[in-house]
Each structure stands twice: as C-alpha cells, then as structure tokens.
Amino acid sequence: MTRKEQRYISSEKQREGFRLACQTKIHADMTVEVQNTDSGGVIMESGRSSPVSCRPNVRQYEVELAPPTLEDFRDDCQRLFDGLRERDAALKELEIDHAVLKKLPGTLRKGKWHVSVAVLGGKTVVDVRAEPLEGVYGVSIDLGTTTLAASLSDLQNGRLLGRTSRMNTQIRYGDDVLSRVSYTMTQEDGLSVLSDAIRKDIQEMMKELAQDAGISLQDIFEVVIVGNTVMEHIFLGLDPQYIGKAPFISVLRKAVDIRADLAGLSIAPSGNVHFLPIEAGFVGADNVAVILAVRPHVQDKNVLVIDIGTNGEIVLGNRNRLLSTSCATGPALEGAQILCGMRAAPGAIEKVKIDPATGMPECRVIGNMKPKGICGSGIIDVIAEMLRAGILRSDGSFDRDVGFSRVRQVGPRSAEYILASSEETGGCGEIVITQKDVRAVQLAKGAIYAGARILMGKLGIEAPERIVLAGAFGSYIDVRNALYIGMFPEVPVHAIESAGNAAGEGARMALLDKECRMEAQEIARHVEFVEVANESSFQRIFFDGMMFHNGKSYKDKRSIS
C-alpha cells in the first residue's frame, strides 16, 4: 500500500483490504471487487409534455404507377416522380438519393409498380420499397456530457413510442467537456475514439427503443440530435479544440443535415440526421432546444431559464431580446466532487432536515434504505439547513462553537458536519459534509448567480418575472432551499417552475415539426451570447454570489459586494 493510499483509506478499511484503484499497478489478471454497486440511477427522461404539432420532415406515400410500354417510355425515376406528384401536388422539385436510385429498377418491378416511398423534406426520395412501409419513425436525442436521453416517435401521428437513457460512455475519457476536448488534442485518434464511442451509445439506444416498440431500425428515417457544442463537434468528427480555449470558436454554428450512413448510424441508410443550430461558444443546440420548449422568445414577461448540468446554461429575456451565457458550475451539484457525493441512485440521501435546536439531521434516502452517500438535491438541502441551524456562517465557514454533537472540529480552525453516523449507515462509514464540500457548492452557485446577475444587468432589469429550471436537477431540488442558499436571483417561490428535460422535449418538437427547425434557426440568430467571465464586473459579482446572504449568523467581515 502506497503512502497516498494510507492517506485516503481509514485504518479500518485498510484492514478490510480496501485499495485505491488509481494507485494500484496491475501485473497480471486480477479480480476487482467493487463495493456498493449502484443499481440503476434516477435520470430524468421525460420533459413537460407540451402539445407538439406533427408536421414531420419525412412523409410516406403509397404510389401505384402505370407499367411502362413502348408508347409510355418515361424512365423509372421520372415515372416515380410523376406518380408522387399525382399523390401530392406540393412535391414539385423532386430528387432521388443515389443509393435509392441504384435499387429503383428492381424494386419497381418486384412491387409490380405498386411501391411505398419515403420523401424527406418534401424533396428527396430516401426510400422505395416493394412491400408496404410499416411506419415512418424518428428518434430525438439529447446528447449530454454525462447523460444521454433518447425517445422514439411515430412520425405519422406524433405518438411517443418509448424513451431511454444511459450514461455517456465518453465519461471514461474525462468528466467534463474540456477534458474531452483535451483528449482529442493529446491522444492519437482521440477524436475518432470519442466519436465512435458516442455513435455506439446512440446506436445501442436506438436498437433498444426499436426492439421495445417492435419496429425495424430500417423504418427510422430521421434522427434529431441536440447537444452542447463540443458533443456535437465530436459526433460529427469536427475538431473541437478551438472551442476549448479563448476566444472559443466553433467550426460551425448553423443547423446540419447529414445522411444517416455518412453519420455512421444504422437506420434507413438514406435517412437524415439533423442537428439544431449552435448559439455560440459552449452554448449549443441543446440550449436552442431548451428555448424551443420553454418558449421565452414569445413571451412578454422576462423569463430566466437555468439549465443546470455539468456545464450550466442561462437564458434571460422575452420576445424583444434574449441573452444567453454558459457557466462552469462543475459537477458538485450532481454529487461529484463532494466527499460523500453520489448519483441520485438507491442509497442516496435526497432530502435533509436539521433540527435547529439540536443540530440533529433527518434524512430521506432514495429506495428507503440505509444511506450510502448524498446526491445533488440532498446537498442543496443540507447546506440550507446548516445555514438555518447556524452551523454555517454566511461566508460558508463552519461555526465551530455552535455546540452541536454533529459538528466535529477538524484541525485548529475548521469543522465538518456528520450527516449520518457509522451506526446510521449500517457500518458503512460516516457520511460527512466537509468545508471543502461547502466550498464546491459555493463555487457552483456563485457561477450560476453571477451568470444570471450579469445578464440581468445587460438587460437592465432588477429581477426576472419567472424562473424556469430545466434539466433533471431542477426537477428534484427543493426550490425554497435553493433560493435560501442564493442559487438564483431572488424571486417569490411561486415564480419558479421546473420544466424537466426541456432539451429533450425541444429535440422532440424539432423532430415532429419541421416548422420548429425554422423557429430554432430564428432563435439561434436572435439570442445574444454574453461571455460573462470577460465582463469587468464578473469577479465582484461571482464573489458576491458565493456568499450566503440568508445565513443568520453573519460574521462582521467586510462585505464582499
């Protein structure tokens, strides 16, 4: 056992044979036993189901053609186009995909001149089949840095046929977008490794969706993908390195349409993969999708939309003007970088109350079992409750003299809070909230607060009229507690609502309704991106945002603001 390991593993755990995997050299085949395996997490799949119009980009037609004769010697392609126009006069400028053209003569004759045709964008024939098409389906995908979510829809009636989600396999190459970018810069073939990983994830999700719905992958004609700028670049095999450093330039911003086989997805080979446009810098198509779903751009009231993920995105404004920015919230709010943090899986403490008289905690645990760690919503709760109980001061430091048995002194000046004792976890060690954990939350909430405040300043408003929280995190947190710790600008509690997985919802809207894609282009053009870290007031506002202004035992220090 190395000295590093001895520092991080308690003597009790050392006796039980615990080692740090990152410090262990492997010389031969070995068995790794992992304690506390997570059994399925809670990942938000659904969004708020807003009514979506069904005006799909892909339509199917059954056409009956007159067989050719010596008198009617139109070529196969012309004959097909004429037949299609008879069915739908709107199909004026038709063309045909080369791969379809190659199989056209055989298919027409095999179907005895009665064929099913799929037409993309009212223009391109992307499939011709001798047997009737069983349906025309589409998949919408939210390509997150950490989580991937996909849903399958019937493009003829807009019906939702299934949803699925999984962790992004790229996590093994880095937790955040920057480390992924850096992987593509430093590793030979790094870009194709990451690109292949994401393609494989998406293919597997589509396969699973198709199987569960009992449909064929060949009948999926369109995929709409939204993701942050880096994820989109990596999927498309575009070099993301210049997004990763100042002045943060992407290869392109506009919407992309690419043939499925070129995109490396196995669906209908001439099917279409569509990416919504990018706003600017890190604020990508996923944020356009969020706006599409939450719709601040058509409202009179000023709405603040906060999408909290590994990277946070903030939008503020109304029909007149919309501003956006991104902020590095870090993974603290998702339970990472917190000593006892974990994903929102069984065993995670998700709600916390602290008795202000005794400092004793009361925890609710996912799966009603002994706690193993704490997830994002629990972290917000515990910070708010520690402030209310006077355990934390407004500057985030522990008050060592609070006199609660659960507050344990560490070193000459610091302390930590015992959220669950060894007994309460069933002998799995204590769950503690350390000073470092509090600091990580302060940095994250300071970044969100600063982003929102700077946009408010640019727009010249004192407070937004509504706050909409997008993303899984927003659905599970206690809004009162989030307000109490100063995560957002102050508004009445009832002015805050949660929109669920708005990015996924926006992607589905764009899949089902091609008008929404036009609207997305307008949004991307219209939104003004603000690089908040470049604002001269950033540091002051960021620091101000790190403080807990509602904490009651405010120590008499110079006000940072």
């Binding site: 850096s182 990763g244 450093k245 500057d395 430091s397 000046r413 620091f543 790190m546 110079r558 940072i560």
Partner: protein, 220 residues
C-alpha cells in the same frame, strides 16, 4: 502620529481584517515615517497576507476573502512604493518573477492571488495578464531579465501552452536562463515534470515556497 511598531501592526491588521481604509492610513503613515518597504512588507502587509493564506489553507477563509486581502495589499504597496525608483524596488527584492495566465486562457482570479502572495513574500513580480501569447511571455522574460517564469492554466485545453513556453525557451537556446514554475486547477506535478518545467505549485502558499527554492538553486 503612530509609532513605527504601531504602523507595522496596523499594516498587518488591515489585511487580516480586510480594512481598506486602515490600509490607506497605515501605508501613508509608513511613508511619513520612512519605514523601509521591505520591513513594511515582511513585518506588516506580508505578515497579514500570511495570516489570510493560513486561514485559507485551514478552510476558514475562501477565495473571495483572499482576493479582497490581495487587493488591499496591492493598494497599500502602491502607496508605500510610489516614490521609490525602479532600482530601489529591484534591490529590495528576493528575485524577479514574470507571471501570467497562459495563451488562450482568460481565468485570472487564481493568478492574481499567487501574484500578491509572491509580492507579499518579497519578490518583484511582473504581471503580464491573462491570455498571454507564448512569444510575448518569452520576449518579456528576456527583456525584464527575470529569474522565474510563472504561468497558470485553468483549463485542460490550455495546459499545452505551458509546454509551449518551455519549448520556445529551448528553441531559442535560453532555457537555462529561466526557471519555469506552473500551476492551475487542472495542472499536476506529473504534468509539470513531463513538460520539463522546474516546479509545480498547488496553491499560492506553495508557489511562494517553490519560488524561494528555485531562487536558492539559482543563487547556489
């Protein structure tokens, strides 16, 4: 009029208590009493910064407090050294350091803290700001004749700019004239060693220790 010891105590206290008005008052008194700037730093302002740095290490103080302390320090030092000639400033220093946030990186909160801690410990620090082009870093280092080049990278994507600095020095055949010291959130000891730099510092306090070691090695 305060005595010399009272002024030094005030200089320390203004940093510890984050009292900007007191800092201004004490700095002016130090000038009036003609207190040697080195003493003003080592027994006054610098001692106050050391307290803040210790509080930070122990978790009681956080980044904003350290930054405010640094700002007050810079303000006071500006008053104390306002009338000093460049030569006098240099002769009093432990060594000369060029500091920056590396090319394509715009994060400078941490770099500013390190800069102040180095000044507070008696180094002469030249800050060329953020997103400092590699060529500019090397050109300035030559022009100023610094002992140490210190560069911060706050994104994994900008860490390679630290390697670029070392490589450019090698290319110009002047690698042995400068010590290179790097840091920043994603930076590690391993990285700094792998690019052939001289020292890694995890935080501002360590940056001071490492800078002292590097200077000792140069003077040895």
């Amino acid at each position: 009029m305060s005595s010399r010891d009272e002024v030094l105590a005030k200089l320390k206290e203004c940093i510890e208590e984050l009292d900007e008005d007191l800092a201004e008052e004490a700095a002016k008194e130090a000038v009036d009493l003609a207190i040697d700037p080195i003493t003003a730093i080592s027994e006054g302002l610098g001692a106050g910064m050391q307290t803040q740095s210790d509080l930070f290490d122990e978790g009681e103080a956080f980044v904003p407090q350290l930054v405010v302390a640094a700002e007050i320090f810079e303000k006071a030092i500006g008053i104390i050294t306002a009338d000093l000639s460049e030569g006098a400033k240099q002769s009093s220093s432990l060594g000369k350091i060029l500091i920056c946030t590396v090319e394509s990186d715009i994060h400078d909160i941490g770099k500013n803290i390190v800069k102040t801690m180095l000044s507070a410990s008696g180094f002469e620090v030249h800050d060329i700001g953020r997103d400092a082009a590699t060529t500019e870093v090397v050109a300035k280092a030559k022009e100023l004749g610094v002992d140490i080049i210190a560069g911060a990278a706050l994104m994994t994507t900008t860490m390679p700019a630290q390697r670029d600095i070392v490589n450019l020095l090698k290319e110009e055949g002047i690698r042995d004239q400068f010590k290179c010291m790097f840091g920043g959130a994603p930076v590690s000891e391993e990285w700094v060693r792998s690019i052939g730099a001289d020292a890694y510092a995890e935080n501002a306090a360590e940056a001071v220790d490492k800078a002292k070691e590097l200077i000792a090695a140069i003077r040895a």
